[in-house]
Amino acid sequence: MGKFVAIYQNYADAAVLYGGSYRVDYPLNNVRDLDIGRVARTSNPATSSAVIIADLGASRLVGGVVVGPTNQSPGSTYRIRASSFSDFSTLVYDSGIQTVAGSTMNWSNTSLWLAWEDPGFWFGIPDVFDLALVPVWATTILPTSAFARFWKIEFFDSLNADGYIQFGRLVIGRAWRPAHNYDYGGEFSCEPIYRRVEAVGGRRTDADLGRRRGYRLTFSNLPDSDLFNDVFRMRQYTGASKQVWVSADPDDSDNFQKRSFLATFKSPPPIVQANLDIGSTVIDCEEVI
């Protein structure tokens, strides 16, 4: 099991974005819009078209790169490279070829097996993709943060059935990886969004408008190096309005998409001083939909 991670302070929002080929009506800069539905859409699914290069203006300490929601095909791949040079002649980081997490079936995990009638059974596609239960994100959490100005993301999905690849948001930010994982009792919520009409006789009719995931996780016994570096920076920068990308367990590839999402804080994480150099905080956030 991996530890919770939060990607915050999105440098991509102020970056110069270029590369690839995008439709005029869905330009690449749409990934800087806070609305994840305002997508950037490639002109075609060719590998040469599905490229994002971000010039952060200066070298920045980056702990994670997230692109999505995306319509990438299950099992399709991507690659992220970072460099201090625009020609990427010398790399600071190279993810290698990555598969979109959780997009292919892990047959060794019998709990996830599909019934053979499921549409995805024959193609090894998990039901989270079949039913579009959650938005899908192409995510790379760097093992250790990298310091680079130019970041290049390439997508390899030239047979995409939609005839294009699209992304709602690009996050290139710092990563908070707490010294200790969250406490027992963390809450992973699902808020239904709906309108209900109740007849006089009690019969209810609902307009189902969607779901919003949320986390309320308590982190105890954190050292000051956590609390007054990443936690402090994250809450001051993010407040209640800026977006942060969270994953409760980035190592859980089977359930990665279910447990990870773009969020805003319901309230910025408090820093509770328990003892000398020891404290706690709470991540209370809800999904951006």
Binding site: I36, R38, A132, V200, L209
Partner: protein, 538 residues
């Protein structure tokens, strides 16, 4: 229901046709070797369709519209009301007002403040399921933007909306006399006395209208700017002799006409007298049309407003014309709005109102019968806030009517004794002294049960006694028994019924146990709560 979609037209300013709306140079521009544009695009008239929704939705290339982004800014979808009740009277369509509220906290819509929205069309659609192509969204309401407004533009903007009935609330007559006919042979525009007065128009058959003297030097009179099929002229109510009709003004002017005679130009609605009149000149006029029924006349009024065939439900007009073929007559020479005139023409038999698609339709007001029912509403469908009114009628009495008196056969210019020539007989003198004739239908047995049973009196534009008598009997049939008005709120998915449809209502009380057919006379949609309240009469 998953999302609401809004498509609204706006004037955003004329743009260089080679620059796309996104501000990007159009790479598809084609030039020849000398730098001349080939395949030059049409000039952009400056009007664009803007796309918004309750969720941000990016359409696929295969959808219609293709590759469009519906910006997820709708905060409140608003309320939409359409009703066949206005000022307490069943059959008079009422205008619908509401608003759509849009998020603007980020200033994303600040540029809209310079756009022109008023009078432009919009459509609200409902998308049932996430991921469903927007092509499959169903139209909830199509109407007209009244204005863009806000009391708090930093956070929200509001599109004030109304239904297309507003397009009928304009003066029907707009053409006025120029006042340039100041001597003989100078046309039919009247002189200073007539200048800027509206040119009259006749629909159907209108007896004894007072024509406009459009050239007093040539004794030219006009009864209608539309083509007519008959003009019978009277001097002091005594008929003059028509010696011929001419297709154009010049040939009519060339004709020799003796005193006591007249010639006509039906194409222009004009006649010329052979001698100076002694008394008041009046005329019986018949419009040049095959069908003089109320539905047909209403249709021709829509024609004058440039409401095209695509914008009207012709089947509803044809159905009404078939069920109510009675001839009507209307003479208009004042600044009356078109909706008021159509309402007068349709009288008690029907009302005009746009349907949910914004298409104008006439809805017949007939007794709801079970055989025509389009669906059923039960107690299980009834949401909070309903109301039940029993014993409603066309007036405030609240009890059934025992008598209906319809005024018919309107004389458009009544005449007193001093205005009538001596040769006119007593019967015609009596006829011209009264604006209306009356047709009565009564059922005295109603008063056995209802001691306060009312009498309905109403004006019509019917021109024949038999038609008026039949209509009086029909109305008595509608209002001589108990009639209820239900305000029935329910989940919007349970209320697909439109105005004029019949719904069977089954409730455990009020005598509704076995179901009662009711006519939908009002529909009020609260889109945000997903509640629709139907006004049901029957």
């Amino acid at each position: 229901m998953y999302a609401y979609l809004l498509e609204v037209e706006a004037y955003v300013g004329e743009q260089d046709p080679w620059i796309m709306s996104s501000g990007v140079w159009d790479d598809n521009a084609v030039w020849d070797d000398e730098g001349v544009w080939l395949d030059e695009p049409e000039a952009n008239p400056g009007v664009e369709t803007l796309y918004l929704a309750t969720h941000t939705i990016a359409t696929r290339p295969t959808e219609t519209p293709a590759n469009k982004l519906y910006d997820g800014r709708i905060v409140e979808t608003g309320n939409f009301s359409r009703s066949l009740i206005s000022q307490g009277r069943l059959g008079r369509a009422s205008d619908s007002w509401g608003y759509i509220e849009l998020a603007n906290t980020d200033g994303g819509l600040d540029s809209w403040l310079d756009y022109g929205f008023d009078g432009r069309p919009f459509i609200i659609k409902s998308l049932p399921v996430q991921g469903m192509p927007v092509t499959q969204a169903t139209t909830l309401f199509r109407g007209t933007i009244a204005a863009l407004e806000s009391g708090n533009a930093a956070d929200t903007l509001r599109l004030r909306i109304r239904d297309r009935l507003a397009e009928l609330q304009v003066p029907l007559l707009t053409v006025r006399y120029a006042g340039t006919s100041v001597s003989t042979g100078l046309g039919v525009e009247g002189d200073a006395d007539l200048q800027d007065q509206l040119k009259p128009r006749v629909f159907g058959a209108a007896p004894n209208v007072q024509p406009k003297l459009v050239n007093k030097y040539d004794l030219l009179y006009q009864v209608s700017v539309g083509m007519v099929s008959l003009i019978t002229v009277y001097d002091g109510a005594a008929p003059l002799t028509n010696i011929g009709d001419y297709p154009v003004l010049s040939s009519m002017m060339a004709a020799t006409v003796a005193p006591g005679e007249y010639v006509t130009c039906y194409a222009l609605g004009i006649f010329r007298l052979g001698g100076t009149p002694v008394f008041v000149i009046t005329a019986d006029v018949v419009e040049d049309a095959d069908d003089l029924s109320a539905a047909a006349v209403a249709g021709r009024i829509l024609d004058l407003l440039d409401i095209s065939a695509d914008d009207r439900d012709q089947d509803s007009f044809d159905t009404l014309a078939a069920s109510s073929p009675a001839q009507v007559g209307l003479f208009v020479d004042a600044e009356t709005n078109a909706l008021e005139l159509i309402t007068q023409v349709l009288g008690s038999s029907a009302a005009i109102i746009p349907n949910t698609e914004g298409i104008f339709q006439v809805v017949g007001l007939a007794e709801p019968v079970a055989a025509n029912t389009a669906g059923e509403l039960t107690f299980r469908d009834l949401a909070e806030g309903g109301s039940f009114s029993f014993g409603v009628g066309p007036d405030d009495a609240g009890v059934p009517a025992w008598s209906v008196v319809l005024n018919w056969g309107r004389v458009w210019q009544t005449m007193t004794e001093g205005q009538i020539a001596g040769v006119v007989d007593l019967a015609r003198r009596t006829y011209l002294a009264s604006q209306w004739r009356q047709a009565t239908s009564e059922d005295a047995s109603i008063k056995t049960k209802h001691l306060l049973a009312s009498q309905i009196t109403a004006d019509t534009l019917l021109t024949l006694q038999a038609d008026a008598q039949a209509e009086a009997a029909r109305i008595l049939g509608l209002y001589s028994s108990r009639r209820d008005m239900l305000s029935f709120p329910t989940d919007s998915d349970r209320a697909p019924y439109d105005l004029g449809e019949v719904v069977t209502v089954t409730l455990p009380r009020f005598g509704y146990d076995d179901g009662r057919p009711m006519l939908v006379v009002g529909k009020h949609i609260d889109a945000d709560k997903a509640v629709t309240t139907l006004d049901l009469w029957g």
